[in-house]
Amino acid sequence: MPRAGSPPSVAPVRRIPVRGREFLDAPTGPAPALPCADASTTHARIRDDGSCECRAPLLTLPRLLLPFSGPDPIRENEMSARLTIRRRPDARSARQAGGLRVAALGTAFVALLVPALSACGGSASSSAGSATLKWASSYFPSHWDPVVSGSGAQFRELALVYSSLTRTDEEGKAVPDLAESWEYNAKGDGITFHVRPGLKFSDGEPVDGAAVKSAIERAQKQKNSALFGDLTSIGSVKASGLDVTLDLTQVDYQIPQLLGERVLQIASPKAAANPAKLDQNPVGAGPFVIDQLIPGTKAVLRKNPDYWDAKNIHIDDVELVSAPDASTVVSGLQTGVYNFADLDPSQASAAEKAGLDVFSQPGFNASNISLNVNKAPFDDDRVVDALRYAVNRKEFVDKLTFGHGESTDQPFPKGYVAYDAKSENAYPYDPAKSKKLLAEAGHRPGDLKLNLVIPAEDPQAEIVQSQLAAVGIKVTIKIDKNWATPFFAKDLAFSLYSTTGRDSAVQTLTAHFGPNGPLNLSTPYEPDGFKEAVAKVRQTPLDAPDYAQVLQAATRAGLESKALIFTFSSPNLFAKSKTLSDLPKNPAHIDWTGVKIAGS
């Protein structure tokens, strides 16, 4: 079967005499098929004497599936006949057979040699002198409308096209992006952003207060918005020239942190008038402009000369492709097919051995076991606690991150400002205690049977299954391709989720522990005191001396939730060609500002 991209194969033809006078061109190999009397069921083969022989057609499905050429059961007569008239091989046919063997060996040799030689090509970071970023991404966006795409990991790819009011620096703090400055009112329930002058979207529309207002209102109101839940603090929006003022529903000093690349990538209002079209034809004011987009596969972008910080963008072109299987990414990087890729931890050592730059960006990744406390058996606190004590976080780190990750019992990695050291290791691994709690709850070993519903095969699930089996809980893993629907509708009882975090720590907390948090499987459940603790964080300016303390208290309150068991933090692992300079260490972001490609 010809592969995509390879030239179509042309079958050699042989001349077949028909009744001794005419010739038919037919592919060599299997006998040619012609319609016969019963054309729908049988095919005719022209015998050498010109007569017609009926036989059933070959079926394509088994043939395509079968890598080994098995016998054709419906050619029984033909094969039998061949057995009776087989001639002895003479010297000529022996020579032909020898020639065929040589040709076959030669073909096999060339087939092996070509890829081997092409693999020696070395890295090719740029072509024709232009600096080209060739990025293989495991998070190739399925939606290019930022309102639909949401706050997930793919925001990094969308940030090639879109800019936002703010961005985060290497400390994770909000710094100017499209907005050159902002100020709160005295009460803290209103904020005005001042947009940089003279900016325009790639379709020529101006970047101004009206465009920002349009983006916020679209995120709040568009039917398929994945962001409206993040914008509940914003009441109304007023635009005036380059200024945009947000009237807040509560005092909230998190807004500059919130309106960064994860939540408010701003699209051209003209393009966004047709959200369906925008979804596959993104128009923003980011560092790059999209030239070609093959949905789900590839995007070709070029530098946006009108980007506000264009002077610090040293990449001319970007080829963003959906990463193939994790095991092939390293060879792609080695051979110059890509020069930048996110990396599965299992491939890190291979990438290092291949001489690639392997590095970990700081981030907020955290994986959890999600429980629905509104459903049995998790409506019993003793069962929830039994699960908490049954989880051995070290096993997740060792087996899934190959030493690159770390265990965590919070939605933040250690060292982050919101990480609450006082809550650390509140439920240490203690299978004996877990068994005891289960016994107290009336569950004998093997009695408790749970269905763990996940969207795709995931070794995490197998580890959970094995750890819970050790305390007498039988877990059946169910893969549901439509997992997202019941998960976000809070219909599941037991599942897994991994977050890449949010720029605003409050957003992370409310997403996990808030009564309507998308990652709270137990909606409308909320731990006691969480609402007040979060409100206090919102009311505390980010530069206040007690901000960290107040934030950590909110984390502590959230961790009282019985709906989530955090397990480990996977690394934001990347590999790049040495021709690429180092990236800024913005937590959880991929920022191309100042990045250079050598040899361009």
Binding site: T41, C54, A56, L66, P71, E76, L83, S346, E395, K399
Partner: protein, 297 residues
């Protein structure tokens, strides 16, 4: 039994039968033969082959040899499900289409054409999305898609017999369709169906392996040959040799099925009888004492 004896008279037939019997034994006894619990994880991940773990361990520290043995049953049963489903759905309508009137013939022909046109993978995924992820659903669907092979084989063989003079003579003599099918058609249809069945079992192995490779049909952590192959591919940089065992097992089993199909085809019919007779004659000649040149003393 005659057919079995004839198949076993061929070297290729004997090799195929030996391999397939071994695979069947693996399917029957594999879970009991497994030296360790195939689902038990350990800290010894991605370990090389050793006395304790003959084929090493996987990414969760599970014994690969035990998983391979344990996974045989699903792989074998899955391929049998595909073949038997295809046989039942395809062969019976194939024979009946010759005798049951034009409407039935037209309908079944169009249905067979439609089934051939459906891409099995997409169809299997769609049905699994509808009915839930399970090996039985996946195999039954795939069996239905492969059934046109049996439909056409049985129909072609039946057509050839139905138009022969002795069948026409039987019809003129007042024989019923049922009697004709039992007496004349069945014996002619059976050999090509046997060939197709052996071949389809081989195809079934590839289908089961393909689907389980993609995670379709089997819920983790249940081991299958295809599933082991898929999981090994993610850790090639750690264990480049790991996919060899499951791949070899799949390859040899499919090869044995094809070899068996080949052997059945070679020994069926008049030509098959002639071949076996000729081989017997040749072996008798070779076992008799050689006659010295120039006569004996």
């Amino acid at each position: 039994m005659t057919m079995v004896r004839r198949v076993l008279s061929l070297t290729s037939g004997r090799i195929a039968v030996v391999i397939l019997v071994l695979v069947a034994l693996l399917a029957l006894c594999g879970p009991w033969l497994a030296p360790q619990d195939p689902l038990a994880t350990s800290d010894n991940t991605l370990a090389s082959a050793s006395g304790a773990h003959w084929l090493g361990t996987d990414y969760l520290g599970r014994d690969v040899f035990s998983r391979l043995l344990d996974g045989s049953r699903i792989s074998v049963l899955g391929s049998l499900e595909v073949a038997l489903m295809a046989l039942v759905v395809g062969a019976v309508p194939g024979i009946l289409s010759v005798y049951s009137g034009r409407a039935f013939e037209w309908l079944t022909l169009r249905l067979a054409d439609t089934l051939v046109a459906l891409p099995f993978l997409l169809f299997a995924i769609a049905v699994i999305a509808l009915l839930g992820n399970g090996i039985t659903q996946a195999m039954l669907v795939t069996g239905a898609l492969v059934s046109p092979l049996f439909y056409r084989v049985s129909r072609a063989a039946t057509l050839a017999v139905a138009r022969s003079p002795y069948v026409e003579a039987a019809i003129v003599s007042g024989a019923s369709v049922g009697w004709i099918v039992r007496r004349h058609v069945w014996v002619k249809v059976l050999p090509p169906i046997a060939v197709a069945l052996a071949q389809t079992i081989g195809v079934g192995f590839v289908i089961v392996s393909s689907l389980t490779f993609l995670g379709i049909g089997v819920q983790p952590p249940a081991p299958t040959w295809g599933g082991l192959l898929a999981s090994d591919l993610g850790y090639l940089s750690h264990q480049p040799w790991a996919p060899v065992a499951p791949a070899l097992l799949i390859m040899v089993t499919v090869w044995a099925c094809n070899l068996l199909a080949d052997a059945i085809r070679d020994v069926s019919g008049e030509a098959g009888r002639a071949l076996v007779d000729r081989r017997r004659a040749r072996s008798r000649t070779s076992t008799s004492a050689p006659v010295p040149v120039g006569g004996s003393r």
